[in-house]
Subunit: 134 residues, 3 copies
């Protein structure tokens, strides 16, 4: 299995587009198969979204409604409301697969691969890419 | 890797059962492995649900509560509330895998593969199936 | 494809940690590849979460806010509010993949594989593990 780990600096950026990193990896590996994208972190997730037209910010903002950053959470380490970050991967999984044809992801025109990370306390992230030839 | 693209007409139907299409594909390919189901679209997702007892409609209706079709969204192209459709794949991923044993999906009795698509502006959808032999 | 089915007794436990079962399976199979975890059930999902610091209970409790156990649901078999259990897999998918390096899951320090199951009416569950060598 071909694999690569990429270090990201997300800082307080809640959505980070990693489509280019994924595309480079599958192009270098080449062939048909499945790209598996994975985050080895407990406070971030992966999504396929349109970026650049506001929907990435819409998702990030709306997470404050779905998972309010208040004192309801048992998990209370870190910044106020940080417990919400630990529930996030239950709704937005850190595991995602994308089909690959001849070294290219079979994404739709408006799809980008993004890291969703509302946890500013952990600004360094590792993106793990794996390719299963098919 | 065996693959197939299937054109769907979802119209204003919010849940479309594609279990039969998936079952036909894996039966024709045969063998053991993993079926990967994928939507190359930025306003739809895939789910494994019981259909026929109201839960499909329950999910579709409840999305109006989780992702209200009001003017909160930055993304404002298309019909009113359409920004919600663009956030949907963040919660309901367009990427899904199902194990296959000897040409049959290992689904539970009550599981169906469904497309969740609240976006009536785009009535034509492509379903991408890939099979990784294992 | 190597596979294993494991019977679980979840009872009224809403979060069940199955990391040890997954780790044992991939260690016995060995090698590099992708572990696919699957629940053949229509009222449960899988997540990668930190356990032991409250976030598992936070997720389970918060599902009562996201998917209220009231009479809004069309699906009305079973206990009151059971319709919510049938919508749950739309938000928390019963299908999950984890990369495996030399017989070990490439999980982050704080990640555990958990079954999320708010349906106390069905205390017996089957966990299906599949390994695709890569």
């Amino acid at each position: 299995m071909q694999r690569r780990e990429i270090e990201l600096t997300t800082g307080d950026q809640r959505i980070t587009d990693v489509t280019a990193e994924c595309a480079t990896f599958v192009a270098e590996v080449g062939g048909d198969g499945l790209l598996h994208v994975f985050l080895p972190h407990a406070t971030a997730g992966l999504a396929l979204l349109e970026t650049g037209a506001g929907s990435d910010t819409d998702l990030a903002d709306h997470l404050d409604t779905l998972l309010p950053r208040d004192d309801r959470w048992r998990h209370r380490h870190g910044s106020p409301g940080h417990g919400a970050d630990h529930v996030l991967p239950g709704l937005i999984s850190p595991s995602l697969s994308v089909p690959v044809d001849d070294g290219r992801m079979a994404l739709g025109t408006w799809q980008s691969v993004v890291v969703v990370d509302t946890n500013a306390d952990n600004p360094r992230r590792t993106l793990r890419l794996s390719f299963l030839a098919g």
